[in-house]
């Protein structure tokens, strides 16, 4: 189709227009055909075979590490923190059956405040073997299996935990496809003072709906939440006091 060479821009536009119109028409045809035919979308995945073996549920390691013992500031040659076994001290001592706080102690467990009802140390700790815990019926249980210990009193929480509606977890909802790792009670609740103390929340949204709001609580808060958020572990340290919102302090020592 011959065209006068004097109008290249108009020609290009006309060609584009023609192309677009054709494509639009073609798309419309395709879309119509598609709607009539394959309206159901791609085929569904096959479900996992019934009765397929379930992957295990494991506990997330406690923050103080597996097993019993008191955290020390020493490290072994692998760089792992060294724990002092409970028996290394307690084997030679008579159990203090009435003690329910560490505040009066001079060495070890110093400053351990107990805010957990009227429990004493030996309600949960096993005087016959301090490297284990024990249930109310004096059955010893290992430190790594303390769910049933807490569940003796906190029945509803234990029930909810067992049904997956209390306590954080990671992994697979479909355990035929993969395992699951669950928090233990002590990841959020310090057993010696179990009331949840709180955390600094993650960063706040900053979208157009919030442009005119104060962004929380006025002066001085800018960026506070954004810093706090970096601390994913805050929630892990159930026993740690709530972190104060970080402030933008000007760099020191510049002068």
């Amino acid at each position: 189709m011959p065209h006068p060479p004097a109008m290249p821009a108009a020609l290009r536009l006309a060609q584009h227009t023609r192309r677009v119109v054709l494509w639009t028409a073609a798309l419309a045809l395709v879309a119509t055909a598609g709607c009539n035919g394959a309206g159901d979308g791609p085929p569904m995945q096959k479900p996992s075979a019934k009765g397929a073996p379930l992957h295990p549920v494991t506990y997330r390691p406690r923050l103080s590490g597996p097993g019993s013992g008191l955290q020390t500031d020493l490290k072994d040659h692998h760089g792992k923190p060294v724990k002092a076994p409970c028996r290394s001290c307690h084997d030679g001592k008579l159990p203090a059956r009435k003690r329910n706080t560490g505040t009066s102690l001079k060495a070890f467990h110093v400053g351990l405040t107990m805010q957990h009802g009227r429990l004493s140390c030996l309600t949960c700790h096993n005087a016959d073997n301090y490297d284990t815990l024990r249930l109310a019926d004096s059955t010893p249980v290992p430190f790594d299996d303390l769910m049933q210990l807490c569940g003796q009193c906190h029945g509803p929480q234990k029930r909810d935990y067992d049904h997956g509606s209390h306590g954080g977890m990671t992994g697979y909802w479909d355990r035929t496809k993969g395992p699951r790792v669950r928090n233990q009670c002590v990841h959020c609740h310090d057993p010696h003072a179990p009331a949840y103390v709180g955390v600094v929340p993650g960063p706040r949204p900053k979208d157009r709906f919030l442009l005119n709001t104060s962004g929380g609580h006025g002066a001085g808060d800018h960026g506070a939440a954004d810093h706090g958020a970096a601390d994913h572990g805050a929630a892990d340290h159930g026993a740690a006091p709530p972190k104060k919102p970080a402030t933008h302090a000007p760099a020191q020592g510049g002068h």
Partner: protein, 313 residues
């Protein structure tokens, strides 16, 4: 009124034809100019859009081969744009699975870790700190979103407040799907309401229709530093969205259709979130629905959410 009664026609005589011709010509010129002007932006489409992208079919109409080609094309485009090697998948719904989500208001502490996990998992725009989840802090006693705040920064939880994360409720009667003029959003067989980012025209009707404010609009393409891009991406979920399209929570379908938990659940430190298959009577979500005090948000609207809220005792 007959033609002969028209004084203009009667007195026009020979001028009538010329006048009509002029008007026609003027109209045609204006029409052509308007048409050209309207199409003018298309003359530059080739710069940022390949022909394949322009001709991209609706997701539901893709044959397996076309789907594979589409995934490869988007992977290559992402590599070109961001320099990051991503793995793009398009998992189909699992037969016999309908997803449900429940959230325990009694133990949610408002830490916003879910919103943050969503932000990171779904390659959200870093500047606006977008997330599909908003956590409302409200006074105990009633659910009053108007008095709630979402940008609190003080340590949580406060004794006089409760916290309510809100995200897409994946309704069984989704108003957002009803209003979409181009069927770019629909409900999949496992209950997930999805958006075809290549089909969406960005009219934002769905955003207006959603009573939960669950949909977000990409005023600009999300800006994510290359090192922070989550390379595990889904075609209908967390791939980096183009400018001008709607997006929303998709229950992390690139994870959940592989059997994994959604990112927001894994981030929740308290276990306030319960996710699972509503069709499996032994699932945790079913236990919650059968044993807890459960409600859905704005039940009176008849949207039939797949997202539930519940209380302990």
């Amino acid at each position: 009124m007959s033609i002969s009664d028209d004084p203009v026609q009667q007195q026009g005589g020979g001028d009538g034809v010329a006048r009509r011709t002029v008007l026609k010509a003027a109209g045609a010129t204006l029409g052509a100019a308007a048409f050209a002007k309207a199409l003018a932006p298309l003359t530059t489409w080739a710069e940022d859009m390949s022909a394949d992208e322009f001709l991209q079919k609706h997701y539901k109409e893709l044959s397996p081969a076309e789907l594979k080609a589409t995934l490869a094309r988007i992977e290559a485009d992402t590599k070109k744009d961001t320099g990051v090697d991503v793995t793009l998948t398009a998992d189909a719904p699992i037969e016999g699975v309908k997803f449900g989500y429940a959230l325990n208001l009694s133990i949610c502490i408002g830490c916003r870790m879910c919103a943050e996990a969503c932000h990171e998992e779904n390659n959200h725009d870093r500047k606006t700190h977008n997330s599909y989840i908003r956590v409302f802090e409200m006074d105990k006693g009633s659910i009053d979103f108007a008095k709630g705040t979402v940008d609190y920064v003080h340590p949580v939880p406060r004794d006089d407040k409760f916290y309510m994360p809100v995200q897409c409720q994946h309704c069984d009667e989704p108003p957002c799907v009803d209003v979409c003029p181009v069927e770019a959003t629909w409900k999949e067989k496992d209950g997930i309401v999805v958006v075809d980012y290549d089909w969406c025209i960005g009219c934002r009707y769905c955003e207006a229709a959603c009573p939960y404010h669950a949909r977000r609009f990409n005023w600009h393409a999300p800006e994510v530093p290359a090192k922070d891009i989550n390379p595990d991406q889904g075609l209908l979920s967390n791939r980096i969205r183009p400018q001008g399209v709607m997006e929303k929570c998709h229950f992390c379908l690139h994870r959940t259709r592989k059997g994994k938990m959604p990112a927001c659940l894994e981030a929740c430190p308290t276990g306030a979130r319960v996710f699972g298959n509503l069709l499996d009577p032994k699932s945790e979500i079913r236990w919650v629905l059968e044993n807890k005090r459960v409600f859905v948000l704005k039940e009176e609207l008849g949207t039939k959410p797949s997202f539930f809220y519940f209380f302990d005792e």
